[in-house]
């Protein structure tokens, strides 16, 4: 296809050929390979070279290209040999590996489109060149000059990536067909080696990327662990705080007890008259109602010293609610002579309340007339500390409730987690069976059936828990709701006093009795009163007023209403009020109303809430009246606390 020795004038001018350079054909002598006498194959050498290459590939893939150059140099008896690879942008070749005389030129570069390597790739055939510097003068830097250069392309995955070449620097060495065969064989090997080296390089990159990702994940996990540690620390701290509060409360209680004991001791001292200045004393001649007070007693009652003391004068200071108590005391004193002891309250002109403790010793004078001599102690301070003590106690009880709730929650979680575990495992199995090819429909059906059964089981656990809470059977007895309510009002007196709440009650006279559990109903009433108190604790701009009302309701029901003037509630939240653990209070557990509603419902009644037109809210319940029962007039009152009148308590 080409002929050497053509006159340069016969060659048309080619734009890519530098001016003054010879055409490609004039430097090619590939055809000569056929005509030259071929040397005999040296199979042993060839095999040794291939084995050396294979072990280089196995042992140190990165140096395999240089080994290739060395072996080409050796097997072809060349003066120089090497491997040129295309750069990434495919615009240049670089001498990736060189052996022999040109070894110092390793790493040299040449343009892709203008040089023997480019010619070989363009024509996609092996080529034998003779003094290529005639066409590519710039190659003259590679000294000594190449007399002959034999090049073959090599490919990776069908893509040409470079050439392998052998060079003879003088005319003594002429390449022949055997050399071409060897070089092509080496080229095939180079393909494989190149691929392997490439894969190893990719693998290395992949490993690096994976290691980087793993480091990132580890760092993320470390971050999470730190977060968990921090959160756990916080929880531990708050638990410690709770215990500290608990301990503080216990210490406080112990201190209160000590204070009480000390108070009692000083009472004894006072009784002996050792500290009369702190105790008021009196004498009372019953027949004439002649009463003598010590100065201290005037101070306690805040009357001018020397004013004539009468029972009527005393009555003006006694708390209106305690008047019946006073009358009772006077009546008893007028009867049999005995010692007596009372506690009652004074309501002072400035509306403050004093608690008095009265001890009297009865005797008869020489003429047989009754006379009492007694001491009156202002025990307001003691009462206040008792109240503080009871507050501390109830706070302690709250802590205990919270603690036991934690235990309860854990056991509920345990009970529910068991069937949940079955549900999740069955559902996972079901999905896997459906995703199989072919899907295992029968198996999936069975696991789905078990999922449902375990779901029911979880629901039964909840039902069982519910039954546990309502374990106590309500006892059915005739309950006078008026009387039951009065008891609750009396019992919660100190709480209202502390919270400065005024309670008014309006009880219907002709209220039928209801059938039910008295204690449970009283729990509900107490809860409603407490809620009312709590709702008003922040009220300062108007009186804290509670109205408790009983009345007949339609359908033979009896209704009790507790109306407060507190913060009220959002009408949209009316239903949520009765959910367990729903609370608007800072310290509430949110179970009171929920339990109350379940009690009233177990009495076949209903409990509901409504916002007032003005401030506050009204909670009511209605339960059926017992068949044929009416409240007995003048039913007994079995409590001895200060009686609560139906009039306003002014505290």
């Amino acid at each position: 296809m080409t002929e050497s020795g053509r006159s340069r004038n016969d060659i048309p001018f080619d734009g890519s050929t530098p001016i003054g350079a010879v055409p490609l054909e004039s430097i090619l002598c590939t055809e000569e390979l056929r005509n030259r006498p071929s040397r005999l194959p040296e199979y042993e050498n060839e095999n040794r070279a291939l084995v050396a290459l294979a072990s280089a590939l196995a042992d140190s893939p990165r140096t395999v290209l240089q080994t290739l150059a060395d072996k080409v140099f050796e097997v072809l008896h060349a003066d120089s040999a090497g491997l040129s690879l295309l750069t990434k942008d495919e615009k240049r070749f670089y001498w990736a590996a060189v052996a022999g005389a040109w070894q110092p030129h390793i790493g040299a570069e040449a343009p892709r489109n203008f040089g023997p390597c480019g010619d070989v790739l363009d024509h996609n055939i092996p080529m034998l060149f003779n003094h290529w510097e005639r066409r590519y003068p710039y190659l003259s830097w590679a000294m000594p000059l190449a007399d002959e250069g034999l090049l073959v392309p090599f490919y990776v995955n069908g893509k040409a990536v470079g050439t392998i070449w052998a060079v003879a620097h003088d005319k003594r060495r002429k390449f022949d067909a055997e050399d071409l065969r060897l070089l092509e064989r080496m080229s095939r090997f180079a393909s494989a080696a190149y691929q392997v080296v490439g894969s190893i390089e990719n693998l290395r990159l992949e490993i690096a990327a994976r290691e980087k990702a793993e480091t990132a994940v580890r760092e993320l996990a470390n971050g999470l662990e730190t977060q968990v540690r921090v959160r756990t620390g916080e929880l531990e701290r708050s638990t410690r705080d709770l215990f500290d509060t608990n301990r503080a409360l216990e210490t406080e209680i112990a201190e209160r007890k000590r204070a009480e004991q000390e108070l009692r001791r000083s009472e004894a001292f006072l009784a002996e008259g050792q500290h009369l200045s702190r105790i008021g004393s009196f004498s009372w001649r019953v027949a004439t109602d002649e009463i003598t007070w010590s100065e201290q007693l005037y101070r306690i009652f805040e009357f001018d010293i020397g004013v004539r003391v009468t029972l009527e004068l005393i009555g003006r200071r006694v708390h209106p609610e305690d008047i019946p108590l006073l009358n009772d005391m006077i009546e008893r004193a007028r009867g049999a002579v005995s010692d007596f002891e009372y506690e009652h309250r004074l309501l002072m002109p400035d509306h403050s309340v004093k608690y008095l403790h009265l001890i009297a010793h009865g005797s008869r004078d020489r003429d047989g007339r009754q006379e009492y001599i007694g001491a009156v102690q202002d025990v307001t301070q003691r009462r206040l500390s008792e109240e503080a003590l009871s507050k501390a106690r109830s706070e302690l009880a709250h802590v205990a409730r919270v603690t036991s709730l934690g235990v309860l929650t854990a056991s509920i979680a345990h009970e529910v987690n068991q069937p949940l575990s079955g549900i999740i495992t069955n559902a996972s199995t079901c999905l896997r069976m459906l995703a199989a090819d072919p899907p295992n429909v029968d198996g999936a059906r069975e696991t789905a059936r078990r999922t449902i059964r375990d779901g029911n089981r979880a629901s039964q656990v909840i039902t069982r828990l519910r039954a546990l809470f309502c374990k106590k059977e309500a006892t059915a007895e005739s309950v006078d709701l008026n009387e039951a309510t009065r008891e609750v009002i009396a019992l919660s007196l100190s709480e209202r006093q502390r919270n400065q709440i005024i309670l008014r009650s309006e009880f219907a006279d002709d209220l039928p009795v209801v059938a039910g559990d008295r204690v449970q109903l009283q729990q509900v009433i107490l809860n409603l009163l407490r809620n009312a108190s709590d709702a008003m604790s922040a009220v300062v701009d108007h009186p804290r007023l509670v109205l408790v009302k009983t009345e007949r309701d339609e359908d033979d029901h009896v209704r009790l209403t507790v109306q407060d003037s507190g913060v009220g509630f959002d009408p949209h939240a009316a239903d949520r009020l009765f959910e367990a653990f729903y609370t608007t209070k800072d310290h509430g557990m949110g179970i009171g109303l929920c339990v109350s509603r379940s009690i009233i419902e177990s009495h076949h009644g209903r409990l509901w809430a409504a916002p007032n037109d003005g401030p506050g809210a009204t909670f009511s319940f209605a339960i059926p009246s017992a068949p044929g029962g009416l409240t007995g007039v003048g039913t007994h009152r079995d409590i001895r606390t200060p009686a609560v009148t139906d009039a306003a308590e002014n505290l």
Binding site: H414, Q418, P419, S421, G422, T425, N426, T429, R432, G443
Partner: protein, 124 residues
């Protein structure tokens, strides 16, 4: 990765676990057996063949950790994955410290279980 014919034994007093877990294990490609107590497992002929034990911690009679100790005494070195419905975060580190492969809180996901099993039965 997984030895597809390895026997995984489940010991749990909870019936729904005994019913559901073996099916899932078989979906994973294991052979599976379930026992309602540690005693039942010890009395069976599966002890020597079991390649991994999924063991409930709290059981009436012999507990999970009891069985673990018993197996150690018998020199039966079976990898153990503990499971428990009582979510107590302090339990897991304790179990791992005492040689468990993993400790899963019920309910656990199939992927969490598979991960534990892969850790218990590394490719040989």
């Amino acid at each position: 990765m997984i030895d597809t014919y390895a026997l995984v034994s489940v010991v749990d007093d909870d019936e729904s676990v005994r019913e559901s877990l073996p099916d899932l294990l078989m979906e994973f490609g294991f052979a599976a057996r379930a026992f309602s107590s540690a005693e039942e497992f010890l009395a069976s002929d599966c002890v020597g063949q079991t390649r991994c034990l999924i063991l409930d911690i709290a059981m009436p009679g012999m507990t999970g950790p009891d069985l673990q100790r018993e197996l150690k005494l018998r020199r039966q070195d079976i990898p153990i994955v503990f499971i428990t419905a009582h979510r107590d975060e302090t339990v897991r580190p304790r179990m791992l410290e005492q040689g468990a492969v993993e400790c899963l809180f019920k309910p656990f996901s199939d992927t969490a279980l598979l991960k534990a099993l892969n850790a218990a039965l590394p490719a040989s």
